[in-house]
């Protein structure tokens, strides 16, 4: 076992080393093309300048104001998507005919670019926070509803027969058999829904908005303030990576007993 664990550790270390080298190589290439004048600073600022600006927008709290707006939008959009996706998904899953009817509809809608509804959304809800919430919730809804349907529909039928034979009530069947059996698939749906909501909100902010991280990036792009724009892009990338890490950890922690 010890050698297996060691090998596993060595493999992880190797992976980390490769990733680090890759990032360093990109930074070096970035540095070289900008300092050697291969790319105009109008399109690509130097890495040093970008990092300095990045520190400044965090230290001054400027980025945090935009971040809080984006997060407020997300904190309404995702629960809305999760609530609707879970309830509708569960209701659809209770009957084989409703699964056959609704699952292809949701899967089809999931596959079309929902962004085409954004102009309509703005007409209805305006340029403020509300249209971002609706847009984020709409994006997050589909993976959640589809995974919820799948989770409930694919419960091992022998577990259902067992619970019947044991005289389980409808409530016991749902809370003690169906829900725990569907949970891993639902958690995957929540993770995907959360990330998609976040991406959709940032995207919507870049298209038409008054505030938020996406708005700020476009605003600096239009002002041709490249160091600021790149500092914000870096900030969004880091926030997205952090969120992805957090929800993945949360997902594996919640399904830890289900291996």
């Amino acid at each position: 076992m010890a050698t297996l664990a060691q090998r596993e550790k060595a493999r992880k270390l190797q992976g980390t080393a490769i990733k680090t080298c890759f990032i360093l190589a990109i930074l070096l290439a970035w540095h070289l093309v900008t300092t050697e004048g291969l790319v105009s600073p109008l399109f690509l600022p130097q890495p040093g300048e970008t990092f300095q600006t990045f520190i400044e927008i965090i230290a001054s709290g400027e980025a945090l104001g935009d971040l809080s707006i984006t997060l407020v939008e997300l904190s309404v959009a995702f629960p809305l998507a999760a609530l609707l996706g879970t309830i509708i998904g569960y209701l659809v899953s209770t009957h084989v005919y409703s699964i056959r009817l609704f699952e292809p509809i949701f899967a089809g809608l999931y596959a079309i670019p929902v962004i085409i509804f954004y102009p309509l959304n703005v007409l209805f809800f305006g340029l403020g926070v509300e249209s971002k919430i609706v847009h984020g919730a709409l994006f997050g809804f589909f993976p959640i509803v589809l995974n919820t349907i799948q989770g409930f529909a694919r419960v091992d039928p022998v577990l259902v027969r067992l619970a019947h034979s044991l005289g389980a009530s409808r409530r016991q069947m749902v809370t003690r058999i169906l829900f725990p059996a569907a949970l891993p698939a639902m958690l995957t749906g929540y993770r995907m829904g959360f990330i998609l909501s976040f991406l959709a909100i940032i995207g919507a902010e870049t298209i038409a908005s008054f505030a938020g991280l996406g708005h700020r990036i476009v605003w600096y792009a239009e002002a041709l303030n490249m160091p600021m724009m790149f500092a914000y892009i870096l900030f969004v990338v880091l926030v997205a990576a952090l969120m992805n890490m957090l929800v993945s950890m949360l997902e594996s922690w919640m399904s830890v007993e289900d291996k």
Partner: protein, 264 residues
């Protein structure tokens, strides 16, 4: 004690949607404390009859009775099930898997732990209470399923091919253990199986089913005291009964294969 009266059951075939007659006017009577096996070719309705008695299937015609009360749906206070797959909840440990049966059956929560632990001790799995199903072998999983069924303290135990997912050697040992554990309990036991040896080794009576539509072709008595000893398996009496059973079954299996268009 258990009886099925003129039970017929029709179900829709997969794919074609044609009506298939699975059971045709079958009647059986099983005495209290008796251990019987249902054996027959695939699709002969033996599992269907078991599920009619267990209340999981509502028969098209006829009815099943336990203690002269008509079966209308599951009766968890009277009947416990063991399925082909162990049907353990993958998210619950062994002890919780046993306790969930008691919970659904309506046993008070204070009584559940002692009864679950006692049942685990009976099947020899006390040290594995905190293990999860994925950490257990197939044979151990079926023991947990047996513990869950025993903890319910029902008079009737229905076993739907409980050995099917186990390898040959595990089945052999599990069969011997089963005979030992069950002979103490005085339960009425119905076993659906494909295995001639299991049917002979475990049962007092064997119902041989015909190919579809299933009827009872023959009933064989195995006159050997419980618990059955390993030596019984190699005795002349065992072999004679097994061979007779083989003759009776072979004909039906061939008929079933012809019906399904299996080339030979």
């Amino acid at each position: 004690m258990i009886s099925a009266r003129n039970v017929s059951h029709v179900f829709a075939a997969h794919g074609t949607g044609e009506d298939l007659l699975a059971l045709d006017n079958v009647s059986v009577d099983i005495r209290r404390g008796e251990m019987v096996a249902f054996i027959g070719p695939s699709g002969c309705g033996k599992s269907t009859l078991l599920n009619v008695i267990g209340g999981l299937i509502d028969p098209t015609r006829g009815a099943a009775f336990i203690d002269n009360v008509e079966v209308k749906g599951p009766a968890p206070k009277k009947v416990a099930y063991i399925f082909q797959e162990s049907a353990l909840l993958p998210w619950a440990n062994v002890l919780d898997n046993v306790k969930v049966g008691l919970e659904f059956q309506g046993v008070a929560s204070s009584e559940r732990p002692p009864r679950a632990e006692k049942a685990l001790a009976t099947v020899g799995l006390t040290p594995f209470g905190k293990h999860y199903p994925h950490q257990l072998s197939g044979g151990m999983k079926q023991r947990v399923a047996l513990a869950r069924a025993l903890s319910l303290e029902t008079d009737v135990l229905l076993m739907d091919e409980p050995f099917a997912a186990l390898d040959e050697q595990t089945r052999m040992v599990f069969g011997e253990d089963l005979s030992r554990m069950l002979s103490k309990t005085n339960k009425t036991i119905l076993l659906v199986t494909h295995s001639l040896a299991e049917a002979v080794f475990l049962s007092d009576r064997i119902f041989v089913f015909t190919a579809r539509p299933g009827t009872i072709k023959e009933t064989m008595v195995v006159d050997e005291p419980h618990p059955r000893q390993p030596q019984f398996m190699t005795s002349d009496a065992f072999n004679r009964t097994r061979n007779r059973l083989y003759e009776a079954l072979r004909e039906e299996v061939l008929k079933a294969m012809d019906e399904d268009g299996v080339p030979r």
